[in-house]
C-alpha cells in the first residue's frame, strides 16, 4: 500500500474510535486497542477526514516546532502501519 498522498484526507476507519478514561487515550478497534500518547495521539486526532495529510504535517511541524520533512517521514510511516490494520483510511 502506498504512503498517504499529500492531498489525501486520513480518517479513522469504520469501527475505530478513541476513548479517553482518566486522561489515558486508547484507540479502540475490532479485536484490539492501542494506548496513544504524545505525537501519536495528536496525529490520530488530526485524522478527521477533512484535514489533508499535508495539512496534518504542517500543523504538527508548527505545534512541535520541528522540521516538516522529518515529521512527514515519521507520520507517513505511522499512518501506513495503521492503514495496514484498517485502523486509518486515506
Amino acid at each position: 500500500m502506498p504512503q498517504p498522498a499529500p492531498e489525501s484526507q486520513p480518517r479513522l476507519s469504520l469501527g475505530c474510535r478513541i476513548t479517553m478514561r482518566q486522561d489515558v487515550a486508547t484507540l479502540l478497534y475490532p479485536e484490539g486497542a492501542i494506548r496513544l500518547q504524545g505525537t501519536a495521539l495528536r496525529i490520530v486526532q488530526l485524522c478527521d477526514g477533512v484535514c489533508s495529510f499535508q495539512g496534518i504535517v504542517t500543523q504538527l511541524a508548527h505545534e512541535y516546532s520541528a522540521d516538516a520533512d522529518r515529521i512527514q517521514t515519521e507520520a507517513s510511516a505511522f499512518l501506513e502501519r495503521l492503514q495496514a490494520k484498517r485502523i486509518i483510511d486515506f
Binding site: 469504520l14 469501527g15 476513548t19 478514561r21 479502540l28 475490532p30 479485536e31 486497542a33 492503514q83 490494520k85
Partner: protein, 362 residues
C-alpha cells in the same frame, strides 16, 4: 497490582438456530430459564468497565436470541465498552440491525461455514447461507464495521481457494480464518474435523497469499491449528490475565471450556463482584502465573510466552490439567497427539463423517 481483564466475553445465551458441529459451547448447555436477567448483565458491564475492560464480545449461542439485546448493547456502550457482536446473523433484519447500531454497536462479526449452500448446511445443520448474504448487504448499506469469520477444518479446506475469493468479495474490513479448536462440540467431532498435514500446509500458503493480495484493503487474522504446532498457543493470553468469560447463567470463567476441569469451583456474578472474582476467586487464581506448573513447563524458557498452553487441552488429551499442553513437542504426552494425527492421515477423505450436531438447550 493485578491489572483487570481487557475484554469480557459475554455468552448471553446458549440458544442458537444453528447446530454447528464445531461449536465451542460446552456439551451441557445452559437452559433459557437459567439465563442472567437484563439487569444482571448491565451491572456486569458497569463493573467490567470499572475494572478498565475495553471490549465486550457479545456472543452465545446466538446473541440475537436475546430479545433484550438492544438494551444489553446500550448498557455496555454507555459503560464505555467497545461492543462487538459475534453472530450467525440468523435471524437479523435490517430494522433490528439499525436498532442495534443506534444502541451503540461498534462492530459485527458474521460467521460463514462455507461458500456454497450444501456444505454450509452439512456443517451448520441448517441452510443459512442465503440469509447471511442478505445481511451482508444490510451491513454495507448501514456502513457498519464488519469482520467475516470463516471456520476451517478437514471438511471444507479443499475448497479454501474458492472460499477465500468468496469471503474477500464480501468486502469486510477484516477476515478471520480460524482453524477449529477442539473443545465442546468440536472435540466430540474431532475425527471428522482434524485437517490433514497436506491441507494445513496448503492453507498456510494460500492465507499468506491472501494477506499479500488484500494488504491495506482487508486485515486478515489467521488462527492456526495447534495440534500440528511445535509449541502450544498462549491460551487466552494466559489464565486469568486478559479475558473473563461469563456463561449465560452467570458463571465467570477464564476461558470457554474451563467448566470441564475437575475440582474447580467458578464463582457466579449473581453472588460476587467482578473485581473479587477476578482477583480473589479460586477459579481465576488456580492457573494464573507459574506456581502451578510442572516439568517441563516449570523451567522452560518459553513459559512466559505460552504459559504452558491450554489447561483444558492438557486435561482432555493428557488427563491432567496441570501438565504441559500435550501439543507441545516438549510434552511427554505429545505421542498422544501424534497418534491422532497419524489416524487422520489414514482416514478416507471421501467419507462423510458421522457428525454429532449441537443441540439446543431446553
Amino acid at each position: 497490582m493485578l491489572a483487570g481483564p481487557l475484554a469480557i466475553i459475554a455468552e448471553v445465551t446458549h440458544r442458537c438456530p444453528l447446530r454447528c458441529v464445531y461449536c465451542s459451547n460446552p456439551l451441557e448447555l445452559k437452559s433459557r430459564e437459567s439465563e442472567l436477567s437484563t439487569a444482571d448483565w448491565l451491572r456486569v458491564f458497569e463493573e467490567a468497565a470499572a475494572l478498565k475492560a475495553l471490549h465486550v464480545h457479545l456472543t452465545g449461542g446466538e446473541p440475537l436470541a436475546r430479545l433484550d439485546l438492544e438494551q444489553l448493547l446500550a448498557g455496555a456502550h454507555q459503560a464505555g465498552l467497545y461492543t462487538n457482536l459475534i453472530t450467525s446473523g440468523i435471524p437479523l433484519t435490517g430494522e433490528r440491525l439499525a436498532r442495534l447500531v443506534a444502541a451503540g454497536l461498534d462492530h459485527i462479526q458474521l460467521s460463514f461455514q462455507a461458500d456454497e449452500s450444501e456444505l454450509a448446511q452439512e456443517i451448520a445443520g441448517r441452510d443459512a447461507l442465503g440469509a447471511k448474504l442478505k445481511l451482508v448487504k444490510e451491513i454495507h448499506a448501514q456502513n457498519i464495521a464488519f469482520t467475516a469469520n470463516l471456520v476451517v477444518h478437514r471438511r471444507n479446506l479443499d475448497r479454501l481457494d474458492s472460499m477465500l475469493s468468496f469471503i474477500e468479495a464480501l468486502q469486510p474490513q477484516r477476515i478471520e480464518i480460524a482453524h477449529v479448536q477442539y473443545y465442546g462440540w468440536a472435540f466430540a467431532n474431532r475425527a471428522g474435523l482434524l485437517p490433514t498435514r497436506a491441507q494445513l500446509e496448503l492453507a498456510q500458503q494460500r492465507v499468506a497469499e491472501a494477506v499479500q493480495r488484500t494488504h491495506g484493503r482487508i486485515r486478515i487474522d489467521y488462527v492456526v491449528p495447534d495440534y500440528y504446532a511445535r509449541f502450544p498457543k498462549a491460551c487466552m493470553g494466559g489464565w486469568g490475565q486478559r479475558m473473563m468469560l461469563i456463561t449465560p447463567d452467570g458463571k465467570a470463567l477464564p476461558c470457554h471450556a474451563a467448566e470441564i476441569l475437575p475440582g474447580l469451583e467458578f464463582a457466579n456474578v449473581r453472588d460476587h463482584a467482578l473485581s473479587w472474582i477476578w482477583q480473589e476467586s479460586e477459579g481465576f487464581r488456580k492457573y494464573r502465573g507459574e506456581d502451578w506448573m510442572q516439568e517441563p513447563c516449570r523451567t522452560c524458557e518459553h513459559r512466559s510466552q505460552d504459559f504452558g498452553g491450554c489447561r483444558c487441552q492438557a486435561f482432555v488429551v493428557a488427563g491432567n490439567a496441570s501438565a504441559a499442553d500435550p501439543v507441545c513437542h516438549l510434552s511427554p504426552e505429545r505421542a498422544l497427539v501424534d497418534t491422532l494425527l497419524r489416524q487422520v492421515g489414514n482416514n478416507n477423505p471421501e467419507l462423510v463423517p458421522l457428525w454429532t450436531y449441537r443441540i439446543n438447550p431446553s
